[in-house]
């Protein structure tokens, strides 16, 4: 069963958004890489929907961005 790690960075703007997300990815690297968890980032900063997926993809993760009520939800997970 995959666990969702929630990261709410609403109110933060880039590049802090990216740095915080990258730190969260690094902290959960093993459970993410084993497919045990996925990271769900909530952000209201539009730029982050470009920078976060870009950086995550370059590290081998897959991302999905959905716009919900007033913010974006970026799901980051590892798929072999």
């Amino acid at each position: 069963m995959t666990k969702d790690i929630m990261l709410d960075i609403r109110g933060q703007i880039c590049p802090a958004c990216l740095l915080i997300t990258l730190r969260e990815i690094a902290n959960n690297k093993f459970s993410l890489k084993r497919g045990q968890s996925r990271l769900v980032v909530k952000t209201d900063h539009r730029d982050a929907t470009r920078t976060i997926p870009g950086a995550a993809v370059s590290m081998g993760y897959e991302t999905r961005t959905e716009k919900t009520d007033g913010y974006y939800e970026i799901t980051i997970e590892y798929r072999k």
């Binding site: 880039c14 590049p15 740095l19 920078t51 950086a55 590290m59 081998g60």
Partner: protein, 432 residues
Amino acid sequence: MKSPAATRTKKPRAGKSLAGLEKEKKKLNEYIRDKVNQLLTVMGTKALDEHELDESDFLQLDPIGIIALSFEQVLEHLKETNKSLGVAKNQLQAVFDTAGVCISIVDSDMRIVNCNEKQKELLVSDRDEIIGHHCYEVYCGKESPSLDCPAIETLATGRPVLVREVKKKSRHFQIVTSALKDKAGNITGVIEVSMDVTEKKKAEEAMRQAEKLSAIGLLAAGVAHELNNPLGNILGYALLALKDPALQADQREKLEIIVEQAKKGSEIVKGLLNFSRQSQPLFEEISIEDVIRKALKNLSSRLLAQSVEVTLDIGDMPRVMADPKQMEIVLMNLLINSMQALEGRPDGLIKIAAGKKDGFLEVSIKDNGPGIPKELLPDIFDPFCTTKPVGQGVGLGLSICSGIIKKHNGSISAGSAEGAVFAFAIPLERKN
């Protein structure tokens, strides 16, 4: 900005003022922020704003530490991607090389970028260096591309081009060219796929030939049947008339001409019937030497009359499965052919050789006659192909021989070198 190393060259002296230390700390912070911004740009985001994170937040976040860990993952991912790409490249190369079709990639200047093993095998047997050379030079042996070159058309239009048949290096190919494009849609080269259709073409030709022979066979049978009865009547009545004792000399002479010509006509009809009635061979174990000797015995009186010398060179041969009657027809036809070519020559010589070769029993008959005209060689086994004067044969003998040998799963060939050479080969072991 100067590196902190440069700043560090001056060691802070003991008792340095607090203001000086604050200044150095600020410089160090600026240096770290600058380097972090460089790394962030590499990670794909914009630089830190001076006011975005204050000094304490900035140091607490540990951006360099975060980016270092992220870079570690980027490198891991790149290594895995490289490994997967290497495997995929090898697999693709294997598919590329084992494909049953010739594949070649050329750039927009028509220089070969890559080609597979099949392409090299069929189209580049005579050179080692291929990559970087012009395709028209390597594959077509030309100094410039021909006007109807499909690659030129694809390079110009970007559309795929199919060429139904092209002859290159004695083989027939069907070619398809398609354009290679970059992300912007610009044509960067052409992929050329050539399928070798030589065998298919040969099979189609054989089928056409078989249909032609079948049609000729039907016609020959019909004509022979219709001519046989009137010829029989002419011959019969002429022979009857010759028995009349009251015949005058000139009348007898004319009747004898009628008999002779009717007999020639009958021989031709017999040949037509033999041609049309080519039946399936009845296989039995035979000695080809016995068949050769029997054919020579049948022709001995004619050979003697023509003063033709015959030499036999027969090696140690196993018995083979073949139809003895059909083999005799083949040998008789080939020998008669040689004898006709030697007519009027005082030193006529026919050399017969037989032996084993590559799983086949091969028999060759060579004479020292005038040989076969070069232009006739490709059609020599076609029905009604003859150089003989009218009345001396209709050109069916070799066609009959060819049909018989093919039904024995063998091959027959004709050549000309100081006389004519005919050779046929049949398998030593018959496959069901």
